[in-house]
């Protein structure tokens, strides 16, 4: 196994600092943050010094895409081409969204994820999100003055597989390397825990613009362990706006409003809500499209009455999370509030009463998620700051497979620590059966029809056998992003029929390629240039990683083995000098191939060190 245990990594090289960013891709606003060279974590602002980028995207007829404050100004005037709260549609089908009549968009009946009809054709929520990510990426490049090596993008903890996959696809479309998808409450816990050096069991109550999450975490000596998470993927500050809006409709006797006026009234409702967090009553006027003026007058008491039910709705997931964690309110040392919507006094009061203690609001609830994501991105980029921590997160919803009678058999239980893999064996029910269809679902309900359908696929090529003899092993693997891949193989014959699946609500690689191409029909760059640039960046990362691995652990290789790797590195460096995309890719693949064994030995060495209590940190650079 190990060839020699001389002290690896004796030669010290100064590690390269990689620029890494954390992105909070929010329903209402998005932010980007980074850990600076001096160790301070900051939110990056735009040229005007604004930290929040409104998650609003407007498509112009000439193909121009406007993101943020500029687009927000047109949400009432050009509602069909200006997208707000697009996060609500990520990984969702038409049947999931038709009930929300207030959205002004023209939904297209496309298979899989819902799409919007716009001036520039069909647009997917993934594309809209990608525009927001691009804007933040650009902001980071300008502000940090260099290439970004990768990003941590946050998602609601309660996002299912389809929603996570859609988020990752958006990053791919935006040309961002994703180090990790990180759950929003976990990101907040990292920021809070590191900032306050907190220890003990904490609850993170995260009410954003369109999603609600509750996570229970145990913080001990550099370990952030999520014990349970729960939430409501369709409950947020938006719904509080809606409550005021509905009330205003009745009050003013409006029956049917144009989409533009509906947006105007909704904006007014939001403004009223925000004002009520500062004062006990508010009154202002809003002009409608016909020149008439609507009076918006509401006090806190009326507002509380309108939104009481919504506040209660957040407490159900809280109770469920506590139950799953096997804890009671008395076990919770502190409650961290996250998300702009937690500024509402009615929320602070309800949370305080439930947990029998005043909630913690030391960090800005709008920024804490982005700050935590930036800290995690810095860690994942390999920028050692002396401070090291471990995040153990969980999967929010159980993953099952359809069995006879339309029932879901759970293969991976909710709140399992990720990464996790589980396998289950199934058999054929007919003589000579050569194929088996597999339906992957997510959710807690027993009936498949009440769970989210993630994917269907068929395992073919099973050798004909008598019913009940074949042994089809279906394996679910959830990675550290919370993303599922499924494979199936028939065991007895040794026939490995294998397939990796992607959620039906996701995009396939062909879709993504087409979207990337589309985005270049309007832009000045071309596709080939981007592909080359991405391949070059990826290869440079590989070279850097291999170099530092050699610097640390060359002692684990004999001279011949080392020579093969060094040769592979030289070949890749040579290819990188040219601009032949294919040649670079081939050289990178070859280097990956020859370093596989080395990677294994490095891992062994590290594991041995962990288990024998040897402090290798001391000898590692």
């Amino acid at each position: 196994m190990l060839l020699q245990i001389s002290e690896p990594g004796a030669n010290k090289t100064k590690p390269v600092r990689r620029l890494a960013i954390g992105i909070d891709l929010g329903t209402t606003n998005s932010l980007v943050a980074t850990v600076q060279e001096n160790g301070a974590t900051t939110v990056l602002t735009d040229a005007k010094g604004r930290a929040l980028l409104p998650s609003v995207v407007r498509y112009h007829a000439d193909g121009e895409v406007e993101v943020g404050h500029g687009a927000k100004l047109y949400q009432s005037e050009d509602p069909e081409n200006t997208f707000v709260s697009v996060k609500r549609y990520m990984g969702r089908g038409l049947e999931d969204v038709v009930t929300r009549q207030d959205a002004p968009y023209r939904f297209a009946d496309t298979p899989g994820m819902v799409q919007f009809e716009t001036k520039v054709g069909l647009i997917s929520p993934v594309q809209v999100s990608a525009e927001i990510l691009k804007a933040l990426h650009q902001r980071a490049v300008q502000s940090l003055g260099g290439e970004i090596s990768g990003a941590v993008i946050t998602v609601p903890a309660y996002f299912d597989d389809a929603q996570r996959q859609a988020t990752k696809d958006a990053a791919k479309l935006a040309g961002l390397e994703v180090f990790r998808l990180l759950n929003e409450p976990t990101a907040a816990a990292v920021a809070y825990g590191l900032d306050q050096a907190a220890e003990g069991t904490y609850a993170v109550y995260d009410l954003g613009g369109g999603t609600f999450d509750i996570s229970i975490l145990k913080l001990t000596r550099g370990v952030f362990e999520v014990l349970a998470t729960n939430g409501d993927p369709a409950l947020g500050g938006d719904d509080f706006d809606r409550a005021i809006y509905d009330w205003l409709l009745t009050l003013n006797g409006y029956s049917e409003l144009s989409t533009g006026d509906a947006r105007r009234l909704l904006s007014a409702a939001r403004e009223a809500k925000e004002r009520l967090s500062e004062s006990t009553e508010t009154e202002f006027l809003t002009e409608m499209s016909d020149g008439s003026v609507a009076t918006i007058a509401i006090n806190r008491k009326a507002f509380n009455r309108l939104t009481e039910a919504l506040v209660k709705r957040t407490l159900t997931p809280v109770r469920k999370a506590l139950r799953d964690a096997g804890l009671s309110v008395q076990d919770i040392k502190g409650v961290v509030l996250v998300g702009g919507a937690t500024r509402m006094p009615i929320i602070r009061k309800a949370v305080g009463e439930f947990f029998q203690q005043p909630p913690l609001t030391d960090l800005d609830p709008d920024k804490v998620v982005a700050l935590g994501a930036a800290m995690q991105a810095n860690l994942l980029a390999g920028n050692r700051t002396g401070e090291d921590w471990l995040l153990l997160d969980v999967i929010p919803l159980s993953l099952g497979i359809e069995t006879l009678g339309g029932l879901s058999e759970k293969i991976i239980q909710r709140n399992s620590t990720i990464p996790v893999a589980r396998a289950q064996e199934f058999t054929t029910w007919k003589d000579g059966q050569t194929a088996m269809s597999i339906h992957v679902v997510q959710g807690e309900r027993e009936l498949v029809s009440e769970c989210r359908s993630l994917a269907r696929f068929e395992l073919r090529g099973i050798p004909p056998m008598v019913a009940g003899v074949a042994r089809v092993r279906v394996t679910y693997q959830v990675d550290a992003d919370g993303l599922l891949s499924v494979s199936a193989a028939e065991q007895t014959s040794g026939v490995e029929a294998r397939i990796e699946v992607k959620p039906s609500y996701g995009l396939n690689d062909g879709d993504i390629a087409r979207m990337i191409e589309d985005s270049y029909t309007h832009a000045k760059d071309d596709l080939a240039a981007r592909r080359l640039q991405e391949q070059k960046a990826e290869s440079a990362r590989l070279l850097e990683a291999t170099e530092s691995a050699l610097a640390e652990d060359a002692a684990l290789l004999d001279p011949d083995e080392q020579a093969v790797i060094v040769e592979g590195m030289q070949a890749l460096r040579f290819a990188l000098e040219g601009s032949d995309w294919q040649a670079i890719k081939q050289a990178a693949d070859a280097l990956n191939e020859v370093s596989t064994e080395f990677a294994g030995r490095r891992m062994d060495y590290s594991i041995k060190a962990a288990l024998t209590g040897r402090k290798v940190d001391a000898i590692r650079v």
């Binding site: 196994m1 990689r18 090596s149 990768g150 180090f179 990790r180 370990v223 159900t316 109770r319 469920k320 139950r323 995690q376 860690l379 994942l380 980029a381 390999g382 090291d388 471990l390 995040l391 153990l392 399992s416 620590t417 990720i418 990464p419 996790v420 893999a421 693997q477 990675d479 550290a480 990362r541 590989l542 990683a545 291999t546 691995a549 280097l591 990956n592 370093s595 596989t596 080395f598 990677a599 294994g600 490095r602 891992m603 062994d604 590290s606 594991i607 060190a609 962990a610 288990l611 209590g613």
Partner: protein, 177 residues
């Protein structure tokens, strides 16, 4: 060393192969291992290292969850000693135990219909006492007397209780909707 499911979980965490386990030590050994192998440690490294990380961290989680939970630990101990607990097809259990189970199931059903939270919590309390007692006996059977067939029977009983516990938990959760 390749992370495969056949690795012995006790060896993986350098713990003695027994039912009575120092859970504090298990926790700290698990965290030490996970600190080394978690995918977060290799996010900036090569494909090969990331793949290995994923496999190792997955194995570490599986092994830890198996050893942490007493029922799974007992099942695993029996499995590596070649004893199949045959929970799918063997329902042979002491009659007294079965009668008690029927009674408890009926109590649960009634509490569900009446939405009686207190009755459910009382049942949960009794279930916990019974489970703790059985685990005590199981420790004796596995670690002291090495009575594997008897231990297998007890594992089947505990699996019954665990299922009841899950249903009870679901029923309590349903009261919150």
């Amino acid at each position: 060393m390749i992370p495969v499911a056949s690795s012995n979980y006790f060896e993986l965490f350098q713990m003695p192969q027994s039912f009575r386990l120092d859970l504090g030590k298990l926790d700290s050994h698990y965290l030490e291992l996970q600190t080394r192998v978690h995918p977060d440690k290799s996010a900036h490294l090569s494909d090969a290292e990331r793949r290995l990380s994923l496999q190792w961290a997955t194995l570490a989680n599986e092994a830890y969850q198996t050893l942490k939970r007493p029922l799974e630990r007992a099942r695993y101990l029996l499995k590596i000693q070649g004893v199949d607990t045959r929970e799918e097809d063997n329902t042979a259990m002491p009659t007294e135990f079965l009668l008690e189970q029927i009674e408890w199931r009926e109590e649960l059903q009634e509490a569900v219909i009446l939405r009686n939270q207190q009755a459910m919590e009382r049942l949960a309390g009794r279930l916990k006492t019974e489970t703790d007692n059985l685990f005590d006996s199981l420790g004796t059977l596995l670690d002291d007397e090495r009575q594997h067939p008897a231990a297998a029977v007890m594992v089947r009983q505990l699996a019954f209780l665990e299922k009841l516990g899950r249903d009870l938990n679901d029923a309590l959760a349903a009261l919150e909707d």
